[in-house]
Amino acid sequence: MAGVVLCLVPTLLGAIQEQPPTLPIQDPQTLREVTRTLEEELKLASRPQPYLVLDLSQRVMLIKGRGVILRHFTVLDWKASRDATGPGVYKLRARPPVARPKIQPGQDSTEHPIEVHDMPMEYLLVFDRDLVIEVAPPLAERPWHWFKRKWLSHWIRVRSWVRADPAGEFLALPPRLSLIVPHEEAQALAWAVTEGMPLLIGRTDLP
């Protein structure tokens, strides 16, 4: 009896080792995309700098540092030019501008501080590797701004077609991604981003 058990042990151990781990993601395509994002994130997480992760399939933007989620932003809806949502790492050129109050000698600096609600709720984030992310609140929260944004967006596009270069080619617009974010979160995102902050676009394994 003991001999039979001893003979079975290696077979059982082999079976346990060969059995693939049970994971929540069983779809190969999804798993491939998640794995690719993880590969890129590993590089970012090894550096002492917070970074952004945008997962359009889960409609979420995250601020992370060392692999830890520092803040979670909900993306209510998104729209992108065809070449704007490919996976990859981008680098933010500049924070959205904000008017900083200037104090005079003898003046209390605590009287007029900048707070998160002073940040814009509608702005562009321009990244290296040619990507522009347009952040805006939903139509219901700011109807006039929504129409203004739509009109401006079409006007920019029309101008790029009309102003062709001497070779006859139309001016190419950079890949553009529009994110609809609740206005408090849009302001918090504008507050949190910093110049040179990396952005990783890809699929995450968030539940």
């Binding site: 540092g65 830890v68 809806d77 949502t85 200037k102 006859g168």
Partner: protein, 245 residues
């Protein structure tokens, strides 16, 4: 002698309106190229308009999966290989998380957290930088910016009963002359019982103005209430990571 041969480029497909659609070399997007023929101009605009109306856009209602599927059809690792790769990457990413306690400061919400893994050991109301500007009087064009720095730092110094060495701006704010004697800059009892330095003169310290906790009022340091400061001092050692966003 070698004859130079010019390779004839392959013919480009032409649309009836003489507008060419070519895949861009960089970026993968479609660019419209205007035909030299002026009669094609109006039709070009029409095609461009159609593209603008949504033909060239993805939206939140569509899946991203189909786009990447084509490129990878050729090299398809098995599901179990992918799962092992995924598990391995997850383990490597988990190793990047600080092994001990670490400090997280949310400057938008004015909160300081001390965490270990996913466990929150302390959630404290804090005060962070006001973001205002003060001109340097003897350096035209130069300014102080009272912002809390963002990024990843580490606790470098742990002080008990810290004494504040008042910088120039503290005197300017009070409309006082900047003292020439360094001893006149010392002020004790204003930073609380402890101070934790995380570089470039920035500290996590206490405050006399507890009513301002939760607001952006500081010159860049992070202020805490006495009890929270004591807990922070106990949990944070030299080298403890401080992540500020």
């Amino acid at each position: 002698m070698m004859a130079t041969m010019k390779k004839k480029p392959p013919p480009m497909p032409t649309l009836p309106d003489q507008t060419l659609l070519k895949r861009a070399d960089v970026g993968g997007g479609f660019q419209l190229i205007r035909a030299r023929n002026q009669t094609g101009w109006a039709v070009s605009l029409l095609v461009a308009g159609l593209l603008a109306l949504g033909a060239c856009e993805d939206s939140g209602s569509r899946s991203l999966e189909s786009r990447t599927a084509d490129n990878e059809a050729a090299e398809q690792p098995t599901l179990s290989t992918l799962q092992r790769q995924y598990e391995s990457l997850k383990r490597q990413l988990a190793r990047q998380v600080p092994s001990g306690a670490y400090i997280v400061v949310d400057t938008a919400r004015n909160h300081l957290y001390i965490k270990r893994g996913k466990e929150v050991l302390l959630d404290a109301v804090a005060s962070t930088g006001s973001g205002v500007i003060l001109d340097k009087p003897d350096h035209p064009g130069s300014q102080w910016l009272f912002d809390t720095p963002r990024g990843e730092f580490a606790v470098q110094t742990r002080l008990t009963n810290p004494v504040w060495i008042k910088p120039d701006w503290a005197f300017l704010e009070e409309d006082q002359d900047i003292p020439s004697n360094p001893a006149d800059r010392m002020e004790s009892g204003v930073l609380g019982d402890y101070a934790l330095g995380f570089g470039k003169g920035y500290f996590i310290h206490g405050t006399l103005y507890t009513r301002l906790l939760g607001k952006n009022v500081t010159h860049g340091c992070i202020r805490l209430a006495d009890d929270d400061l004591r807990t922070t001092y106990k949990l944070a050692k030299n080298g403890t990571p401080v992540m500020i966003f």
